[in-house]
Symmetry: D3
Subunit: 241 residues, 6 copies
């Protein structure tokens, strides 16, 4: 099978992460994965949600949204329907859970790190690009806290990235673009840490159920992709020099 | 490890499915899985959502909600916050996708089967109980369509059930109740068909990431549980006589 | 006139009240009046509404809702229209006022008793069944407060129940079911205490205005029905042994 | 007992009805009952609600609202809470039902008469003043339809008015003003036609339940008041010349 | 050009301001400008918005709304769409800004003056009539604060009024009524103080852009009109005796 | 006075317009005016709003929003408050009116051009940058319609741009950045066509009223700035080659 953009089955799209993309947040990156483009920002706020008040621990939460101009046909704004899009709701919960899994929240103190993932252009894989980009924005925001002396050290337990995999025309593929995704038999979003362990796994058999051996092939592809993404994150953050 | 209700690690709770639980829907069951109780109903409606109008095909969609009295501390109604609960939104999307995966929608004609899963009492696993129960309500509603001559045969490609699995105190367990779920290191919801194939898989590492061998152990438990659930569904529907 | 279910004009439907119907609320009953089924629960909460803060007195309030599957044609959820149904709003105000009328709120302390009436199946008279059932749930919740020593004695001034009456084909009837209610010339909901005094009265001339003598006949029927209901409540609560 | 404004127990406040109060609606009156002032308007619209489409019959519906400046302490606008006030919802349903009860809707054709009752100043009895005033606005709008030849004759079966009665310091009183209403043991709103028949009756025992003989005294007062109101309506509409 | 109501090009409509129009607010006027009628009220409240808490300074804010019966075809209530009308939002921001510009807020203490402008009948120029009327209601509310000794002197720096001007059939006109406004090539709302200085200016070229000399002609007309309005305000407030 | 970024009083910030910024809309530009960055996109849709159906004419409308990460302190999303921000509402109405003023809508046919202005980074002047950028996006979308043969020629009557001016420390300045804007005595947004005519003018005396001679100085500055902006637009669109 020839992929729409001539990639090999186990080849992810080119990923570019631009730090300090806008000037106000404590961390802000533009992540581009092929034609998918997401602004991921992090603001540190001096408050925690009600259920954590007085607990001495921090929180990380996320909001995800697509610009009306980011999709093939214009996407209506949530405010006009007065309802948060169900898909957005699901995605922002996933991003928040994933980021929290690699942060020792007790070190943060009673602060919330507010992550925003705003999709500028959507060509498949926006939720996984958001996670991969948001990790870097979070890293920058936490580093700023260390610099300011608000915390002693980075409260991170691991790097974190995410990628999509799927079965298209019965072939397992890494990193589906939109045209592949909309024809996929099944697709899976995988979030992993730098030790190759699973943090989140979400698989949907869109066109048919999948067998265990297919699942295993997909997991292998995902591992490969996430390993490459974490290398890019490390390079962007100046680790590999 | 001794489980809170003395079950074995691979033992699911007792499941009871009562058909025709209320009198108005085209299908309506009460599913009880231990202390978890959900009313699952199905109404056949002569309309399809806008994106399917004129396509000659049908649709299945779901709404999920918890009664305020179903939880340990009273759960506020969505209408009072004017927002659909994010978790409910995620769950009802999952139930809808799962049910659609085993129905040939093109046979339905331009009808929508509206599924409602209303939790009466929540003790963990409400989303998987909803799927397992909703399948039976759907089966009854479709059977009614066959009886009325609206469709020639049941448009089902397989039975469908779902169960939760998780890792508690480093031990993989089948069918977590609430107390187990809230202490789980990781939990996973699995939706499968009667052929042991995967339809949906959603894993979250709540307390720590999980390794591949742990994932595989969980999948084995899930398979066992779902096989047992489908047997119960078949019995309730009069198949095994 | 022969009634749809062969009852006599002054015969109410069979009423069954199941206490401890679900396990989390402080009081929870299932009331069944013929085919009408309502779950009535009571949670004691350590707060009062803003207008009572610091007054040292308690509050009782109610929310009423119908499950989508409880009606002949599926009832849309309020959250999808982002509006509380006008009829529900009216009914829950009625239930709250009625219950407050038999409780000495000053004895409660700054606590709110939150009543939820969720209709599982609607066959007429859901609001009056809710009041009759909610009284028992309230009784159980208050008894629990006495047991825990939070209050010294039950702060109740009387039992309380409610019933509907109406004129169908010019004949006064007790306890209308749905088919009767939808053909009624006039219907009236009556809330009374155990001393035969009126707490709430709501009459609507649906098809034509009614004369004073008709009103009086309806009041006599209502008294009879409520007397019987209070006997059932007392029996269920173990009074008549 | 001396009433706050020196009225006798069976004396209603002075009522003034100004027709053609504003220039755009098909009927518009300002009704003043003592210090209570309500603008009641009627627009005829060429549409019916969905459930009546194609039935060849008309509809009358009402919206009721209080200006923020109409109450002792400023009343917040509904739009700021994004919720229709529960009391307003109840009142506008009452007004709509009452007006429909004296109109032969089948004569209207597929038209809706949209009634708006906007309270300019509230001193008790705004809902009953609204009904009494809205009837005159409705009369004027229907007359305009007759003039235009849209209907042959007025589709009215009776005049209609409403008044409040209540028990204050154990004494039955006609037409409670705000200060009386807020101290009332019980209050009742009564809607009657010109033949002394009951259309709506809503009684609430605010401070204590009431006995049957009290109820009967209240009904006698209400009859007297409504008779006087209908005379005023007839005079304003030029009947008694 | 002959104007619809025979006014000269530089002649504003007759303006009547009735103080103490309703009895509850701290200031309340009815302003009538030709057929345009607006109730403007002012309540003094013991709170400030969150961004001013602890600052020791006051605030003035405004809400503007049109009654459903105030317009040629009935205007739907905001609450039914669950959205504040965009035009209302714009107007109430304008009124608030205008009034704040002539008040020394630091003298008020931590109080908010809540202005409500409710349009009873709309015939063009409702926003400028609201400003002119609201100033008088504000004056009365502030005077009451002086009388009560809450502030030492009126914290006003100037009188304030507003008027509309526009170009109709290429002719500059003062104070457009609705029929003129809806045919205007351009219209402008001008808010000025008693010294002939500009506080707000909002010009829209509805049908074509306008040239600088046209702009200047409009400003001259506006000055004339506002001068006359401020004289009326002073007379109503008893200044010119 | 030295400006914060050393510009001269009549010097606007550097403006950069990037066409085809994202790939899905019919026109999409990124406009950067100093640190202010806005994505302006245009989608052509085959529908018109209800009030234009069957009129054979088109429509242009706009939505404006700021990303949460675009402001100094994170800006809450509208959907979380369930209310469109009042300022956004005002701005999007302004942009829509401005663009419509230079398009012959009757040539469009029954199409709507949907403009979205999403602020990526806000440093003052976002509404005027939106208008200037949106004009170019509109130009590109209309050109595409000409290319496709949907319309014969561009239905534009003029170029269009906008700029802010204001008085800071009593000095008139062109093109305020955020720090200047927040200290301005008065600011004005001006929308003009290429013939130096006024389309919209909005002046607010934030700190004090302004005199006529100040107004005139501001208008001269605005004219200069807009002339320069229109030159940039023409260059970007390839006119000045």
């Amino acid at each position: 099978m020839v992929r729409s953009d001539n990639r090999k089955f186990d080849e992810k799209r080119e990923v570019k992460i631009t730090r300090n993309y806008t000037m106000y947040p404590d961390g802000c990156v533009l992540i581009e994965s092929g034609n998918t483009k997401v602004i991921c920002s992090a603001f540190i706020e001096n408050r925690v949600p009600p259920f954590l008040r007085g607990e001495g621990t921090g929180w990380i939460t996320c909001e995800y949204s697509m610009l009306p101009s980011s999709t093939q046909t214009r996407k209506q704004r949530d405010i006009n329907r007065l309802k948060l899009d169900g898909r957005s709701s699901e995605i922002q919960r996933l991003i928040g859970r994933s980021l929290r899994s690699v942060v020792d929240l007790s070190i943060l103190g009673e602060k919330t790190i507010m992550i925003d993932c705003d999709v500028i252009q959507a060509d498949g894989g926006t939720r996984v690009a958001s996670i991969t980009g948001a990790f870097v924005a979070l890293y920058d925001a936490l580093s700023k806290m260390v610099e300011k002396g608000e915390i002693e050290r980075l409260p991170l337990t691991s790097f974190l990235a995410a990628i999509s995999v799927g079965i298209v025309e019965n072939e397992p593929l890494l990193d589906l673009c939109y045209i592949e995704d909309s024809n996929a038999i099944a697709d899976m979003n995988v979030v992993m840490n730098e030790y190759g362990e699973f943090i989140e796994l979400g698989m949907t058999g869109e066109k048919r159920p999948i067998k265990e051996e297919e699942l295993n092939k997909l997991l292998i592809l995902a591992k490969k992709g996430i390993k490459e993404l974490i290398e890019i994150q490390k390079e962007v953050l100046g680790f590999n020099n």
